[in-house]
C-alpha cells in the first residue's frame, strides 16, 4: 500500500542525500519526494510517498527516525489534504484552442504561457485529478510534463 510520510528535518547540507541513501540501501521504494522550507528557517519538510506492506512502512519510519538530522516522522496517509502541482506543455492548433481552454477551466487549471504552437497549463490538485487532466490532454499532444510530487497536511487540529 502507498503511504504519505511527512518528515521534518534540520535544514543542513547533505540531509537529502542521507535520506535518499537510506531508501536506496534498505530497498525502500520512493514514489515521489518533495522538499521545502517550513515556518522555521532551520527546518525543512519533506513529503515522501512510499509503497510497501505495513512492516516495510514501519521500518521506513523507524529508520528515518534514527537519522540524527530527522526531527519528526509522521504518517499522513489518513485524513489529510494532499496536493500536487503539474505544469503541462500541450500542443495547440487554432481548431483545438478553445477546447483545451474549456477543459482547463473545468479542472480549474490555469494557462500560464501561450505561444503559437503550445500552452503551458498549471494544474494543482490530488493525484487523481492531475492524472485525469493529463489523460485528457494526451489527445492534443503533450510535449512536456513537470510534476512536483505530493505535499500533504493533516486535516483539523493535528499538526506534525
Amino acid at each position: 500500500m502507498r503511504h504519505t510520510i511527512a518528515v521534518l528535518v534540520e535544514n543542513k547540507p547533505g540531509v537529502l542525500a542521507r535520506i535518499s541513501s537510506l531508501f536506496r540501501r534498505r530497498g525502500f521504494n520512493i514514489e515521489s519526494l518533495a522538499v521545502g522550507t517550513t515556518e522555521k528557517e532551520s527546518i525543512s519538510r519533506m513529503t515522501i510517498v512510499v509503497s510497501g506492506d505495513d512492516k516495510t512502512i514501519e521500518q521506513v519510519m523507524k529508520q528515518l527516525n534514527k537519522l540524527v538530522e530527522v526531527i519528526k516522522v509522521s504518517d499522513l496517509t489518513q485524513d489529510s489534504v494532499e496536493r500536487e502541482l503539474a505544469l503541462v506543455k500541450v500542443a495547440v492548433t487554432p481548431e483545438k484552442r478553445s477546447e483545451i481552454i474549456e477543459i482547463a477551466n473545468i479542472f480549474r487549471a490555469r494557462i500560464v504561457d501561450v505561444s503559437r504552437e503550445s500552452f503551458i497549463v498549471e494544474i494543482t490538485g490530488d493525484e487523481d485529478k492531475i492524472n485525469a487532466f493529463i489523460d485528457l490532454m494526451r489527445q492534443y499532444g503533450i510535449k512536456e510534463i513537470s510534476r512536483t510530487g505530493k505535499v500533504s497536511m493533516a486535516r483539523g487540529k493535528r499538526t506534525v
Binding site: 547533505g14 542525500a17 537510506l22 540501501r25 534514527k66 537519522l67 540524527v68 530527522v70 526531527i71
Partner: protein
C-alpha cells in the same frame, strides 16, 4: 586558537588518551598540534588497522575509540573498519583530513568524498566547512557515538579548517533536536513482560551485545537467577553472563552449542535483550522459536520487529529495563524444563576427537583457556573464530572481542592491539587463522615498535578453512581457491622479521609449553600452530535450516 589545536584540545576534554592513525598532507596540521599533547598516538601501519584498533579499544574498555587518517587513500582505507564498527555498534570517532574547502569537488590531489562513501556505514558523519563549529561538532560526535545504540561517527576536516583561527569554547552539553535516545522502558510493557515470564514454563533469555554496551551484566544475572531462566547468547553477547554459570548454555546459532539451539527452539518464552536476531543466530527465521512468545528489549526501536515477530516490545536501555523488570518477577520452579535442558547439556556436549600426533585446533583453544582463563580474547574470522567462541569460556562481556556483523578477516589482530593498549597489564590473545592474519600482519611492526605484547595464536590449517568446510559439505569437495599453504611460507620468520617472537608448533605435546612461554614473554609473540587441516566446526546449523535441525559430527 588554530583549528588543529582546537581539535586536539577538544579530544583532551573528551578524555581521549590514545589515538590510532597515520598522518598525511591533509591532516598534517592536526598531527602538528598533537605533537604537544599528552595524548598518546599509535602509528599503525595501515588505516584499516587504526580503525579496528580504536574499535577493539572501545569494546575492551567501554571508552570511545579514536582513529585518524589523511584524505583520499587514508580515508578510504578506513572504510572496512568503520563498516565493522557500525555492524557491531561500537563507539568510535574517526577523523579524516580533507582537501581545502575551495578545492572540494574539483578532484583535487587525494580528494575522496569520504562523507558520501561512509554515509550508509556511520551512525552520523560531518564535513566541517566552518571552523568555528569545530568544538560543537566534536562534542556532538562523541555524544552520538557513545549514547543510545552506539556506533561510528566520522568527521572530515578540510585542511583550511584546521588552519583557521577560532575561538575555543567547548560546550558542556549539546542539544540535538533530532537525537533523543529513549532509555527507560515503558512501564506497561514491562508489566506485560513480567506477566508472560510468570506464566512461562520454558523461559529462555537470549542475550546480545547490548548487555556489554549498556553494562547490564549484573541486572541480567539477577533476572536469570530470579526467574530462573537459562541464558543463551549471541556471538556478540558472549560473556553477558559468565559462561561457567550453571544457567548459561553458551552461544547459540550456526555454530553454537547444540543444547543452546535446542533450548531456544523449544522455549515457550524468549526474553531477547540487546540483540538483533541476525540470521546467524536465528537459523531459518520462519521456524525460529516456534512455540515461544517473544519479548524484545532493545534501545533501537528499528530493531524491534525487523527480523522476527515480537509479542512484547520494550524500547529502552537494557540495564534500566532489566533492573525494573526484575522487580516484577518472582522465583518459580520449573523442574521438568530444567531437567530437560540439563539432559541436553549432558547428552550433547561440545566435543572433538583428540589425536596423539595431530594438533586439533580446539585443543589449542582449550589450552589457552586452561593457562589463561582471564585473558582478553580477540578472534579473526572463520573456523578459528567459531572454535574460540566454543571453547574459550569467558566470564565478562568485555573479554571476548570478535567481528560479528561484518565478519571481517583481519579484525582480530589490530583489535587485540587496541584492547592491549587499553589494558597494558592484561594478557590479550588473538585467535587467528592463517588466512585472516595476513590481512593485517603489518601491525606486528606497530606492536613491536610500541611494546604492545599481543599474543597471536595462528590456527594454521593451510586453508581458508571455513570456506573449505562449506565446499566440503555443500559443494562436493570442490576446493575452489581455498588452499593457502605453499612451500617456503613461514609465519615464524615473518614474526621475526618484524622483530617479534615467532614460534612454530607441530606436535600436540608442544602446545602447552609454547603457550606458557608466550604468556611469560613481555613482547609480541606469534605462534604458528600447525593444526589438522581438514577439521570442521561442529555443531552446525546448515544455512537455511532451523535451529533444531542442527547437525553434529559422529564422534
Amino acid at each position: 586558537m588554530r583549528g588543529a589545536n582546537a581539535i586536539i584540545k577538544a579530544l583532551e576534554m573528551e578524555g581521549v588518551r590514545h589515538i590510532f592513525g597515520i598522518p598525511g598532507g591533509a591532516i598534517i596540521e592536526v598531527y602538528d598540534a598533537l605533537f604537544d599533547s599528552e595524548i598518546t598516538h599509535i602509528l599503525t601501519r595501515h588505516e584499516q588497522a587504526a580503525v579496528h584498533a580504536a574499535d577493539g579499544y572501545a569494546r575492551a574498555s567501554g571508552k570511545t575509540g579514536v582513529a585518524f587518517a589523511t584524505s583520499g587513500p587514508g580515508a578510504t582505507n578506513t572504510v572496512t573498519g568503520i563498516a565493522n564498527a557500525y555492524m557491531d555498534s561500537s563507539p568510535i570517532v574517526v577523523m579524516t583530513g580533507q582537501v581545502p574547502t575551495a578545492l572540494i569537488g574539483n578532484d583535487a590531489f587525494q580528494e575522496a568524498d569520504i562523507t558520501g562513501i561512509t554515509m550508509p556505514i556511520t551512525k552520523h558523519n560531518y564535513l566541517v566547512t566552518d571552523a568555528t563549529k569545530l568544538p560543537e561538532i566534536i562534542k556532538e560526535a562523541f555524544t552520538i557515538a557513545s549514547t543510545g545504540r552506539p556506533g561510528p561517527v566520522l568527521i572530515d576536516l578540510p585542511k583550511d579548517v584546521t588552519i583557521a583561527d577560532i575561538e575555543f569554547n567547548y560546550p558542556e552539553k549539546i542539544d540535538l533536536i533530532g537525537y533523543k535516545p529513549k532509555t527507560a522502558g515503558h512501564p506497561r510493557q514491562i508489566k506485560r513482560a513480567s506477566e508472560l515470564i510468570m506464566k512461562s514454563e520454558r523461559p529462555v533469555i537470549l542475550a546480545g551485545g547490548g548487555i556489554r554496551l549498556s553494562e547490564a551484566q549484573e541486572e541480567l544475572l539477577k533476572l536469570a537467577e530470579t526467574i530462573p531462566a537459562f541464558v543463551v547468547t549471541t556471538l556478540m553477547g558472549k560473556g553477558a553472563i559468565s559462561e561457567t554459570h550453571p544457567l548459561c548454555l553458551g552461544f547459540v546459532g550456526m555454530h553454537g552449542t547444540k543444547y543452546a539451539d535446542y533450548a531456544l527452539h523449544e522455549a515457550d518464552l524468549v526474553i531477547a535483550v540487546g540483540c538483533r536476531f541476525s540470521d546467524r543466530t536465528t537459523g531459518r527465521v520462519s521456524d525460529f522459536a516456534p512455540y515461544a512468545k517473544i519479548i524484545h528489549i532493545d534501545i533501537d526501536p528499528a530493531e524491534i520487529g525487523k527480523n522476527v515477530r515480537v509479542d512484547v516490545p520494550i524500547v529502552g536501555d537494557a540495564k534500566l529495563v532489566l533492573k525494573e523488570l526484575v522487580n516484577h518477577v518472582q522465583y518459580k520452579q520449573r523442574k521438568e524444563w530444567e531437567d530437560k535442558v540439563n539432559d541436553w547439556r549432558r547428552s550433547y556436549p561440545l566435543r572433538y576427537i583428540k589425536e596423539k600426533d595431530k594438533i586439533k585446533p580446539q585443543f589449542v583453544i582449550e589450552k589457552v583457556y586452561e593457562l589463561n582463563p582471564d585473558a582478553i580474547v580477540t578472534t579473526e574470522v572463520g573456523q578459528n573464530q567459531m572454535w574460540a567462541a566454543q571453547y574459550f569460556k569467558v566470564k565478562h562481556p568485555r573479554q571476548f572481542i570478535s567481528s560479528g556483523g561484518l565478519g571481517t578477516m583481519g579484525f582480530g589482530f589490530p583489535a587485540a592491539m587496541g584492547a592491549q593498549t587499553a589494558f597494558p597489564e592484561k594478557t590479550v590473545v588473538d585467535i587467528a587463522g592463517d588466512g585472516s592474519i595476513l590481512m593485517n600482519i603489518q601491525e606486528l611492526a606497530t606492536c613491536v615498535d610500541y611494546h604492545i605484547p599481543v599474543k597471536i595464536c595462528v590456527l594454521n590449517n593451510a586453508y581458508l578453512g571455513m570456506v573449505r568446510q562449506w565446499q566440503e559439505l555443500f559443494y562436493n569437495e570442490r576446493y575452489s581457491a581455498t588452499r593457502l599453504r605453499y612451500e617456503g611460507l613461514s609465519f615464524e620468520k615473518i614474526a621475526k622479521g618484524f622483530g617479534a617472537v615467532g614460534m612454530t608448533v607441530e606436535k600436540p605435546s608442544e602446545v602447552e609449553d609454547a603457550l606458557k612461554e608466550a604468556f611469560e614473554i613481555d613482547t609480541p609473540v606469534l605462534i604458528d600452530f600447525w593444526v589438522e587441516k581438514l577439521e570442521n566446526v561442529y555443531p552446525m546449523v546448515p544455512p537455511g535450516a532451523a535451529l533444531n535441525e542442527v547437525i553434529d559430527k559422529e564422534v
